[in-house]
Symmetry: C2
Subunit: 368 residues, 2 copies
């Protein structure tokens, strides 16, 4: 539910998923990423585009392209375990692509879960890892409950703060159903997704109260006031709404991703894109992620668990609907519906993203 925005792309052109995937693979290999890693990275980007998280798919390829081209990310990075126990590991991503480091670290968590019931991996010296949801879907394939978190470049004010100190620090976790679809929770710890503020700015519309503050720390509904030196608000928005809770969750993600691994945290997480300002100081190595996996049958029979999940889903769907709504969704519904449509009809890309891909194509000679 990380901000699926299928409705906001009316002016978009549709591209077959395979075409964008092959283009991404060729771009990554062109920049020195080994073939297998390039396919992994393109798979993570594709998962975002298919699930309707437009901000995290090929819309980011140009930034990865620039960072790799300038040598700011190592295309051939080694991913190494620097400390481990039967159920935990600390991983150094060698300043590789988060789209490659993330899946490798996640695999270590899953292997430990298979062997010892659970696996928990904190990662330093990595970069932006795409959508958190991708990693927990991988765990579902192995009947594991997957967790994924990452810290990100500062954008968010702590409750009662007037400036950006924390990232949008997303949390994902997923649970498999038997006949019902899986429950997939994938959420930034902010009131709203940054992508929605960007969309409001392009559409010259106001944003709802509770999403943002301006550069003076005052509440604002002007998307420009947030983007130009303001900050996003944590989930809960203000004290009455429980903004201290969203702030607490963002702190939790930062500590698990960065303090446990030795990565940068808070306002010192490196920027994702070239044009963003560099942090005032370095307090660790690169960005941090945190992955977890729990083996279901280490707790209870797998089918019994999944039957209960099915019953839970059906019970929740029968909730009496609030006025003017069709009743509650199950976490993961919007993304799964987006994926069904996009696999059939293609992935919609807005003009600005198509232009960026064309620019990559021109610079590399790889046909789009």
């Amino acid at each position: 539910m990380q901000g699926a925005s299928v409705t906001a792309v009316a002016e978009a052109r549709l591209f077959p998923p395979e075409q964008l995937f092959e283009f991404s693979v060729r771009v990554f290999t062109h920049l020195g990423v080994p073939e297998e890693d390039a396919r992994t990275a393109a798979t993570v980007l594709q998962a975002a585009d298919l699930r309707g998280i437009d901000s995290h798919g090929v819309a980011r390829l140009h930034s990865y392209f620039e960072l790799l081209q300038m040598g700011r990310i190592d295309p051939k990075a080694n991913v190494t375990i620097v400390r481990e126990s039967p159920s935990t590991a600390t991983v150094d991503g060698g300043n590789g692509l988060g789209l490659v480091v993330g899946p490798k670290a996640n695999a270590i968590a899953m292997e430990k879960a298979d062997a010892n019931g659970s696996g928990w991996v904190s990662v330093r010296n990595t970069n932006h890892f795409g959508i958190a949801g991708y990693y927990v879907l991988e765990a579902l394939k192995r009947d594991l409950i997957g967790w994924a978190m990452t810290n990100t470049t500062k954008l968010v004010a702590p409750l009662w703060g007037a400036e950006r100190m924390l990232g949008t620090n997303p949390i994902a976790i997923a649970f498999p159903g038997l006949e019902e679809p899986d429950i997939v929770i994938d959420m930034a710890t902010t009131a709203a997704a940054y992508g929605k503020i960007e969309i409001a700015r392009r559409a010259k519309k106001l944003i709802p109260p509770g999403w943002a503050i301006d550069r003076n720390g005052a509440a604002t509904t002007d998307p420009n006031a947030m983007i130009d030196g303001g900050a996003m608000l944590p989930l809960g928005s203000d004290r009455d709404g429980g903004g201290h809770k969203g702030y607490g969750l963002a702190v939790m993600v930062d500590v698990l991703s960065a303090m446990l691994s030795g990565a940068n945290w808070g306002p010192f997480v490196p920027p994702f894109a070239l044009r963003q300002e560099m942090p005032a100081r370095s307090v660790g190595k690169g960005t941090g992620h945190f992955f977890g996996a729990l083996r279901i049958d280490a707790f209870i029979d797998k089918d019994e668990f999944k039957r209960q999940i099915d019953d839970f889903i059906r019970t929740l769907r029968k909730t009496r609907p609030a006025p003017g709504t069709a009743g509650p969704l199950i976490p993961g519904d919007p993304e799964r519906e987006a994926e069904a449509i996009r696999r059939r009809e293609g992935i919609p890309l807005v003009g600005a993203v198509v232009e960026e891909l064309r620019d990559i194509s021109k610079q590399t000679g790889i046909p789009l």
Copy 2:
């Protein structure tokens, strides 16, 4: 930050913490709870009263008293491991006091973390366990990162629902500082604490928008409309505010606490107090909890971790304050400050709670 409400007890009488502790121990042993377990249970209640979570301390003793007296909770329950792996366990609480089952299950998680890097314990057939924060503070004593969650009696509507389907399902997690105080996150997954709605009702005041809906599912600021058949709203409140995220977190707590252990979930979690309605059906055994522990030095040197936490705390405290505020707090600040005051001045109890304790005293002959 579970709703510290030190300011709301102006009309209260102060009691020395030791006096309430000894009274609680004698009440529990009077009802057949073994001495050591009674001391554990009283310790958990005292932690709530000291930390300013008035709703979860001796204010609940009368409910425990009734449930034990009527045989609805087994005072001598055995706590057994029904399945385990090197880093996980499923525990059956034997329908004991959650205040006794919780600490024993938490200890299993901590032992597994000491041995294998992490420990994760899902618990069924248990009852209300007090404040989630208690358990993570225990973990801090052993230099472990502790997690605690529990499902609770239904009070909360899923986003776009018009009725109670989920509990307030709290999450706690804590991280130790070196010179700075620990970061302690302890939050219900709702917009506000239920206790605050109760306080507004007693004071005949309105509640802020975003906390509750009435029995028809419409937004309300009338505390009576919530309490009389309405529901609380998840953290984020509505779609714009990210209410689907608070709802997702409540679902996560339910699955980890109940589906993994075989406890009741969602609208079928047993009521905490005698006067509450019984669920429509049973889908498992009792209430469910979930505990976790991560050994810090399984990831990184302990002192290095704590130094980074100190730096993080100092950095966050230096955030430019929002207008009209003194700047951000660190999660755990309000509860730690409440504890410092209450250890010195005593625990404030409102008249209704004192009356309940007097009633217990009268029925048992234990002097208050």
